[in-house]
């Protein structure tokens, strides 16, 4: 019964996300047991993404500057390339995967039972026939 109500809610296209961003698709309110959401459990949150982007830029610029400085001082072009490659690999390891450190302020999604109590408000149309058709389909 609980599963059927979930699927019917997603078919109606009810969104319970307050921000209405592109993340809030029809399946985003499904319980974590669904395989669709398991892949999205380990995402970064918004603050984590900003933090990761800042870390990426700082790491890359720093490794470029350090590589150039070391190569210039040691008169070795190959050394510069090696240090820069190491810096890029380190940046990729720290920034790209979804580490839990970037998920310290996770978003709190609304409960499905709570969403059903507050249906999405209807948008009023110009022609009455199309609006009546829409109301009939939505109030299944």
């Amino acid at each position: 019964m609980a599963g059927r109500s979930e699927f019917s809610a997603s078919a109606r296209g009810v969104s319970n996300c307050s921000t209405q961003s592109y993340l809030c698709r029809g399946d985003s309110h499904v319980f974590p047991s669904s395989p669709v959401l398991k892949a999205r459990i380990n995402e970064m949150d918004w603050q984590g993404q900003k933090h990761a982007e800042m870390l990426m830029q700082i790491f890359l610029v720093f490794s470029a500057v350090a590589a150039f400085g070391a190569g210039y001082l040691m008169h070795d072009f190959r050394l510069m390339m090696l240090i820069y490659a190491g810096g890029v690999v380190l940046t990729a390891l720290v920034t790209v995967p979804n580490w839990p450190y970037f998920n310290r302020h996770p978003l709190k999604w609304l409960d499905p039972s709570e969403a059903e109590k507050h249906p999405k408000p209807q948008v009023s149309n110009i022609t009455s026939s199309s609006s009546s058709k829409k109301k009939a389909s939505k109030n299944k």
């Binding site: 993404q49 990761a52 990426m56 890359l60 610029v61 150039f68 190569g71 210039y72 072009f77 790209v96």
Partner: protein, 170 residues
Amino acid sequence: MHSAVQRANTAATIAAILLATICAAASFLDAFNSPSLQAHVQVVKINRFRRQLDGNDEVKMTLKMSMDLTSLFTWNTKQVFVFLAAEYETDTNSLNQVSLWDHIVQEKERASFQVKVPTKYPLIDQGTNLRGKKVGLVLHWHIMPISGRMIQGKMPLSNFSLPDSYTTRS
């Protein structure tokens, strides 16, 4: 930045841009290198001076050269290509340049040397103008960097005069 793949794409793009930046910076610093090289060349003897069957003059000679190219090398240098050109003037051409000998120097440690060699390539004229001609020897070099544009330079060295008649009959 939402998924790991997008972050990987962003990291790769920024890394490529920064790589281009540091290579351009390394090449840019090359322009401040003012080389001061020494070179000396001397014609030991003219081995053969003849007129070829198709009508052109040909000279083969032995050269004694000493040069020090170490100041051309920077940390951004891959190799230096150096060649010796004979320059002279004729009635039809205001400047003729013929390469007599060239060498590739790949390491700074081997950039200073002395050699006594016959010319790698004979001096072949477009015509028969070489008898008694005053020829100038100019050392040219091309510095090929690891990243950046090639730098060229030249330095005129000593002159010499060819004999008035052929040393061997063709």
